[in-house]
Amino acid sequence: MTRYLLIALILSFVSSSAGAESVTMALSAERVGITSNFSGTEITVFGSIERDGSTVSRAADYDVVVVVKGPPVDVVTRKKERIFGVWINRNSRTFLSIPSFYALNSNRPPDDIAQSLALQTNQIGLENIIFPVATDSIEAPGNASEFAQAYRRLKANNDLFSMKTDGVEFLNKKLFKSHIRIPPRVPVGTYRVEVFIFVQGALLAHDEQTLWVSKAGFEQLVYDFSREQGLLFGAFAVLLAIFVGWFGGLVFRRE
């Protein structure tokens, strides 16, 4: 009897230390439609941190990190070098399955929130995004980090990679919200929105949701058509061209 009680006690202790906190999240929109006059939009992430009754209240405040990752891409990054006075693409590095979009919002700089190991394993922060190099490529081996750095910089120039270390706002101690900017020219596809809750450097809870970014209306039609039916799309472009040319000739012949 005492043995069962002991086990029950241990079990309750384990569960309370591992799953005391949980986070519930909601997005202001689960779909972003890119129309022809799309100039960017904003998605609000709401979150509520919950504690079961048995948890002791904590002295330290919660830290929140929200990460939005775009659909993964295989990318080749090239570097120009001067050869006989002309700038030519020379070395390159191919990366597999890296995010096409990355936005991080947190209530304070991630380096203050947790140790670098915890940030690295969860790919929190632009520097902690993993860049797997394609091994079967013919590219010369060597340092890939300058190419990864260049990719980050090029993406950041278009607001497609960003970090906002004051981007999470607490409504009260357990309720927070965060505005994620979706800039124009975002890649389409399935996005992942992740929320991490830390206290004093320890990851307490994690949740994620899917966000769909797709072209909408006429844009969607044209885009899908051009990707899936290239031949027909080309024929359509030709017919359109012939029509415009013919019509233009007709209009001006009258004058």
């Binding site: 659909p71 120009k80 399935t190 044209v222 359109l240 061209a241």
Partner: protein
């Protein structure tokens, strides 16, 4: 903005009586549109700008259909080859470079030729000389090659080899660089094959229309770089601009016009040179090989 650009180039093409692709493509590239998209899109625009011209020559029956079909046969081969090479260059990341270098050599040599010729003509007309008459009846060796064929409409009996060769090479250039090639085709037909001037323009327009149509379909299906919205803007702008350009063009004198065009072409060529030689602000670039739309990051 794009409508304006189409109109400006259409204006120039109407003014000088050229297709305009060789100016429109560079212009698009300079405004930051990726060369691959610029080339493929202008290819479709070229179809629009050659249609109305081709139609009016068709009505006047100023076209040698047999000659045109031989040129087109070559053109289809050439442009298929061109689109294939285009794809290859894009995959190894050297497409932009090849486009720039080709435009540079090509525009500067043509610009210089035009300038020299027009300045000579201006000097001649000032001194009251008549331009030296071309020697008639002098046949080039290329026409004597085997596989002779009769082109009744053009009153020609020449080897098909130079005809096919011309079709192939201009089709190739057209699909790689996004130019119709009328401004090479016309002089080549006149001076090389000695096709009567009255038939040359219509025949060359039909050739451009068909070859560039094929190139557009191929670009769309293999490279997916035809931007139809951009193309439509350029087409509409081009069609309207060309009309006003043609009206003004009739008021200006030929030599001055050609000197002006020569300068313009040379300037665009030089711009490519500057871009190649100057240290770029950003040494790195990336291109997406595969976008995994379905699976979340």
């Amino acid at each position: 903005m794009l409508l304006g650009m189409g109109a400006a180039v259409g204006f120039i093409s109407g003014l000088f009586g050229v297709g305009g692709g060789f100016l429109l493509t560079p212009l698009l590239i300079f405004t930051g549109i990726p060369p691959a998209v610029a080339v493929a899109t202008v290819t479709s625009q070229t179809v629009a700008s050659s249609t109305s011209g081709a139609l009016s020559y068709w009505r006047k029956q100023a076209i040698d259909l047999k000659l045109a079909s031989m040129l087109i046969a070559g053109g289809i081969v050439g442009s298929s080859l061109g689109v294939f090479v285009f794809r290859l260059l894009r995959d190894v990341g050297q497409l932009d470079l090849i486009i720039s270098v080709s435009y540079l050599t090509f525009l500067s040599s043509i610009g210089i030729l035009m300038l020299r010729e027009s300045i000579r003509a201006m000097i001649n007309s000032r001194e009251g000389n008549r331009p030296p008459a071309r020697m008639p009846g002098q046949h080039s060796w290329v026409l004597g090659l085997p596989m002779k064929m009769k082109f009744r409409r053009s009153k020609l009996y020449v080897s098909v080899m130079p005809v096919l060769g011309l079709g192939i090479s201009i089709g190739f250039m057209g699909s790689v660089l996004g130019i119709g090639g009328g401004f090479i085709m016309v002089p080549a037909l006149i001076y090389l094959l000695r096709v009567p001037t009255s038939i040359v323009i219509g025949t060359s327009l039909i050739y451009i229309l068909v070859t560039m149509s094929v190139a557009t379909v191929l670009h769309a299906s293999t490279n997916q770089t035809v931007d139809v919205v951009l193309a439509l803007c350029l087409m509409i702008g081009g069609v309207f601009g060309a009309q006003f350009g043609a009206q003004l063009g009739q008021k200006l004198r030929g030599e001055q016009l050609r000197a002006l065009l020569g300068l313009l072409v040379l300037a665009v060529g030089m711009r490519f040179a500057v871009n190649l030689v100057l240290k770029p602000e950003e040494l790195y670039s990336f291109s997406v090989l595969r976008l995994m739309i379905g699976s979340g990051g």
